[in-house]
């Protein structure tokens, strides 16, 4: 059994979660053919929307294992929509349910509000949580419902209104896990995690990390031949402590240093200290996406085992589909796929666009990805206005990677403006759909994926002028574009599932 260990799955996921989810699917497809093994995406955080979010990222119930669900005995509960007006726990002969628009209703006893029922986001009238109030309007208890329609936890509060106790329930309503919030050095924090009657015994932990380690040990103990892959730098030290595994690996999804010019000696990002300098020995190997990063890390840490296993696959179906020609695409459309956050430099794409528009007046740019902050979104819009390209830009928001294919097939060029990338799943996916890439020259993905002048261009880091020139060239020369598109399609073959399976098999054994 392979467990890919992470913190959570979100409504908006970054490349790491996508890579992990894809890897789960890929392993399980291969497992059916007797290669690789069954895999699951393991998460630590309490997330009542996990089944929705996992589903959105393409995972089914068997492919996700959350710690809280595990202890609550709810890993395999199917969704049953729970409309708040049909909730059996509400004594409807005692309380009026009074609606207040689409977002919430109240429970009223002879006209007095005793509880507020919030509607689950993006649903019509399904119960999300119920907050009860005393006669002085203090919150007494909050009951939290899972996306799948059952009461999952109850929160209690200190007299000042701050969270005091969380009780996590099994389906019979029995408390199986309690989290107490008390002062630690004068600050109110979770101070006790108590597991109740787990296989007949209670266990107490000072931190959620300790509980998570216990959980990982338990799931490892219960499955023969377990391999863990730590996908999150915040969890490396915990995974390192798990006992009884066949193998433990850590997967580095990103570049390990902000000093991209000197990856061998540049200052490590603090998050990488655990895996590379403290607990590296606990892992059979540390996995990276590119040979270049492997060489850099091996030079820097000669005692560690560093191996290469690109964390992206293109399924056979995508590779087999007819290639999309220029005439079938949106003319002169540029694409940006990724989070809108500072290290991705999305504003550089705008500056490129502003220059390209001078040569190619009908050029457009579409962003897909969620903004890390409201401010970032605002700044981009302001810049687009200032550069007079606001009419050429579309902010498409977050689109799950499974739905992005048709958007890739509309585009002519994808821009990569990040300060660094472990690989660049966006470029691989673009290539799978015949889109040439233009990237800044940063480690590690650019050179691994782009053969300069063949399936795209690698331009000097930070030079939007050169990037714009290359893009304009591509847009204005249909023959060149067609050649590069074909080269992109061809390059994508390297990530065919069968090839990746071979690589992963070698790496893991």
């Amino acid at each position: 059994m392979y467990y890919f260990v992470s913190e959570n799955i979100f409504a908006y996921n970054s490349g790491t979660e996508h890579a992990q989810a894809q890897r789960v699917k890929f392993f399980n497809r291969r497992a059916e053919q007797g290669r690789l093994g069954q895999a699951a995406y393991v998460t630590r955080d309490y997330n009542r929307f996990l089944s929705r979010d996992a589903n959105a990222i393409g995972l089914n119930t068997d492919e996700v294992l959350n710690m809280y669900d595990y202890f609550q005995g709810t890993t395999h509960v199917l969704r049953q929509e729970q409309p708040l007006r049909l909730l059996s726990q509400i004594p409807v002969d005692k309380y009026h349910i009074v609606g207040h628009g689409p977002n919430y209703s109240t429970l009223e006893d002879a006209g007095r509000v005793v509880a507020k029922i919030n509607v689950m986001p993006a649903t019509v009238g399904l119960v999300n949580d119920i907050t009860y109030y005393d006669r002085a309007d203090n919150v007494t208890a909050r009951e939290n419902f899972d996306w799948r329609g059952f009461k999952s936890s109850v929160d209690y509060f200190h007299p000042d209104g701050r969270l005091a106790v969380q009780k996590f329930l099994n389906l019979s309503g029995e408390t199986v896990l309690e989290v107490t919030h008390m002062n630690i050095n004068g600050q109110l924090l979770p101070s006790m995690y108590r597991l109740i009657n787990y296989l007949g015994h209670d266990y107490r932990f000072n931190t959620e990390e300790q509980l998570f380690l216990f959980f990982l040990n338990e799931i490892t103990r219960q499955q023969p031949d377990t391999t863990l892959i730590s996908d999150r730098r915040g969890l490396d030290h915990i995974v390192a402590g798990v006992q009884g595994t066949t193998h433990k690996f850590a997967y580095l999804h990103d570049i390990h240093t902000g000093d991209t010019k000197h990856p061998v000696r540049g200052k490590l990002y603090p998050a990488y200290i655990n895996v590379l300098e403290r607990y590296g020995g606990a892992f059979t190997a540390i996995l990276v996406s590119t040979l270049a990063q492997q060489r850099d890390l091996q030079t820097r840490y000669p005692r560690l085992t560093i191996k290469v296993a690109p964390d992206v696959v293109i399924d056979e179906q995508t590779l087999a589909q007819p290639r999309v020609t220029l005439s079938e695409r949106q003319p002169h459309q540029l694409l940006y796929v990724g989070r809108l956050s500072p290290e991705k430099r999305p504003e550089q794409a705008l500056r490129v666009l502003a220059r390209v528009v001078k040569d190619v007046p009908d050029a457009t740019l579409v962003y897909y990805g969620y903004a890390a902050t409201q401010e970032m979104m605002h700044d981009l819009q302001e810049l687009a206005t200032k550069l007079q390209v606001i009419d050429h830009v579309t902010f498409g928001g977050y689109v799950p990677s499974t739905d992005l294919q048709k958007d890739y097939q509309q585009a002519q060029v994808i821009l990569q403006t990040s300060v660094g990338e472990g690989l660049g799943m966006n470029l691989v996916e673009a290539m799978g759909n015949g889109v040439p890439s233009v990237s800044f020259d940063v480690p590690y993905g650019a050179h691994a994926l782009i053969e300069d002048g063949v399936n795209g261009y690698v331009v000097p880091d930070g030079s939007n002028l050169v990037m714009a020139q290359k893009v304009s060239e591509l847009l204005l020369d249909d023959d060149q574009w067609t050649q590069m598109s074909v080269a992109a399609y061809d390059k994508a073959q390297a990530f065919a599932e069968s090839k990746m399976a071979t690589i992963w098999q070698q790496v893991l054994n």
């Binding site: 408390t175 008390m182 101070s191």
Partner: protein, 532 residues
């Protein structure tokens, strides 16, 4: 079903609990179904109730009811049975405080408080987190499961209280919150009932009412009503007056209804009864233990509801059938009294009367059986002792302490004396006449002046007149024929409290309940000729 409603059944019982237990016995003997309903949370409810002779399937504690723990096999639970959830646990016995200090690697994990006996059954566990905060106290039921958990605030006050089933499902919660007064008060209760429905109540009274409604539903019958007998009216009066569906509700007086028992017209009512008396017609029946109280209640409140006089004492058939002990076989001049030595019993007056009698009959003696009341540094006992000194009665009056050997003591004595300031019934003087003791009492409400019939089984003299009491005693001591007559009167007057006559009084109430039921049902909007 008949429900007897009380708060708890403590080890130290008052007259109310004794009355209830006697009634329970009577109902059981007559195969009339009964449940003893206890409203207050009490981790020892089952031990104490069982000790008092109540079996688990006749006991419904409100918390047990919702905790689904009405009938649980008691389990021995000692410190080593507790799940501490940590490694390298060590116990240190802190004998002085009856607890173990539990540490894991020098970190205090818990303090385990135990019963002071050989078993050291765990009573409660105080839990500490890894940062030395006391965050919770678990209170165990005597049967060995966690009943109540009290969750603490960072400033070491109780924040939330949660009660759970033995399987660990939280079913009752009570919340301590800030109010506008700036104080932290219990502001709310939440119940997850047996059908998993969630209710929020402002007060324990509202929860209690809901509980009564549940009982009424559980035992609902179209043939007869459920009978709710409120033995401590104040703890469920509001609920019984607001039941959702009809029932037959009984307000049982166990004490004088006025603050000053000797004045049934006194403006101030007994606080415990005030609300019920002001809603008297909201009940189906009011029970007093004496005819006198029934008459006083009728005169003062002119209720339209039914009043019943039902003695709270029962003289068992065993006693009524026992051979009578003639005066000649008793110790001449020996008076006894069974009462706590307390202010309201006013026993110093009884000693004064004996002091006066002693001047003519040196052979007179008085034995006082009962614990001294410690309040005000045993003031009542000191007053008794002072009178003993004053009348030089140290060889005459004896403070015997508590005894259970009532039959022997009473069969050897001749007289019984009572000088209380007030009474609700006084079981002891009833027992005295059933043993043939000649009874002397002040004229006080309620009980003594009815159980003692002047000129029949003894004498009733004006309240506070110990001279008159002495004269009445002297009259009997001087006249052996009179003594014989009163003694026979005592034995015979005890028949009023025979099992048969008390049961017959209850039967008239139960018959009234049954007869009134069709009309009550017919008054229910949902009732259609027997279908509901």
């Amino acid at each position: 079903m008949n429900f007897f409603i009380n708060a708890t059944m403590p080890k130290q019982k008052s007259g109310i609990e004794h009355a209830e237990l006697k009634r329970l016995d009577l109902f059981n003997k007559n195969n009339e179904p009964v449940m003893v309903v206890l409203r207050d949370w009490d981790p020892n409810a089952h031990i104490n109730a069982n000790d008092a002779g109540i079996v688990d399937n006749q006991l419904i504690n409100m918390f047990d009811y919702f905790q689904e723990s009405l009938q649980i096999e008691p389990k021995k639970l000692q410190v080593q049975d507790i799940e501490f959830g940590a490694l390298n646990i060590k116990f240190a016995d802190d004998v002085e405080k009856s607890r173990y200090l539990v540490k894991s690697n020098e970190q205090l994990v818990a303090r385990v408080n135990y019963n002071v006996d050989a078993d050291r059954q765990v009573k409660s566990v105080e839990w500490f987190d890894g940062f030395n905060n006391l965050y919770r106290v678990d209170h165990y039921d005597s049967r060995g499961f966690i009943s109540l958990q009290q969750w603490y605030t960072p400033d070491n006050k109780i924040g939330t209280e949660t009660w759970q089933t033995p399987s660990g499902r939280t079913v009752i919660e009570a919340f301590h919150k800030n109010t506008m007064s700036g104080e932290i008060n219990k502001t709310s209760w939440r119940l997850i009932d047996r059908a998993n429905q969630v209710y929020q109540f402002d007060t324990l009274a509202e929860l209690t009412k809901y509980f009564f409604d549940c009982l009424n539903d559980d035992y609902w019958s179209l043939d007869q009503p459920n009978v709710f007998i409120a033995d401590r009216a104040h703890l469920g009066d509001w609920g019984l007056l607001h039941l959702k569906k009809p029932a037959y509700t009984v307000f049982h007086l166990h004490n004088a209804h006025t603050a000053n028992a000797r004045n049934p017209a006194a403006p101030l009512l007994n606080n415990n009864y005030e609300f019920s008396l002001n809603n008297i017609d909201g009940y189906d029946a009011v029970v007093s233990a004496t005819h006198k109280q029934t008459a006083d209640v009728r005169a003062r409140f002119q209720p339209k509801t039914k009043l019943f006089t039902i003695p709270v004492g029962v003289v068992p058939d065993r006693l009524l059938g026992a051979p009578r002990v003639p005066v000649a076989e008793r110790k001449f001049g020996k008076m006894v009294v069974f009462a706590r030595i307390a202010w309201e019993k006013h026993l110093d007056d009884l000693v004064r009367a004996i002091g006066l009698v002693h001047q003519e009959f040196p052979e007179v003696t008085l034995d006082l059986y009962g614990y001294p009341d410690p309040s005000d540094n045993y003031k009542a006992r000191r007053e008794v002792e002072q009178v003993i000194d004053e009348y030089q009665l140290s060889d005459v009056v004896t403070l015997k302490g508590y005894t259970t050997d009532i039959d022997q003591v009473q069969n050897e004595a001749m007289m019984y004396g009572l000088t209380s300031r007030m009474e609700g019934f006084n079981l002891a003087i009833m027992e005295a006449i059933s043993h043939g003791l000649i009874a002397f009492s002040y004229d006080v409400n309620y009980g003594p002046n009815e159980i003692v019939e002047d000129g029949v089984n003894g004498a009733v003299v004006p309240y506070g007149d110990y001279n008159a009491l002495a004269q009445a005693i002297l009259q009997v001591l001087r006249d052996p024929k009179l003594a014989e007559q009163y003694m026979t009167g005592a034995y015979e007057s005890a028949e009023r409290y025979s099992e048969a006559s008390v049961w017959s009084a209850w039967q008239s109430l139960l018959v009234d309940a049954k007869e009134s039921w069709p009309a009550k049902l017919a008054g229910m909007p949902g009732y259609r000729g027997g279908q509901l």
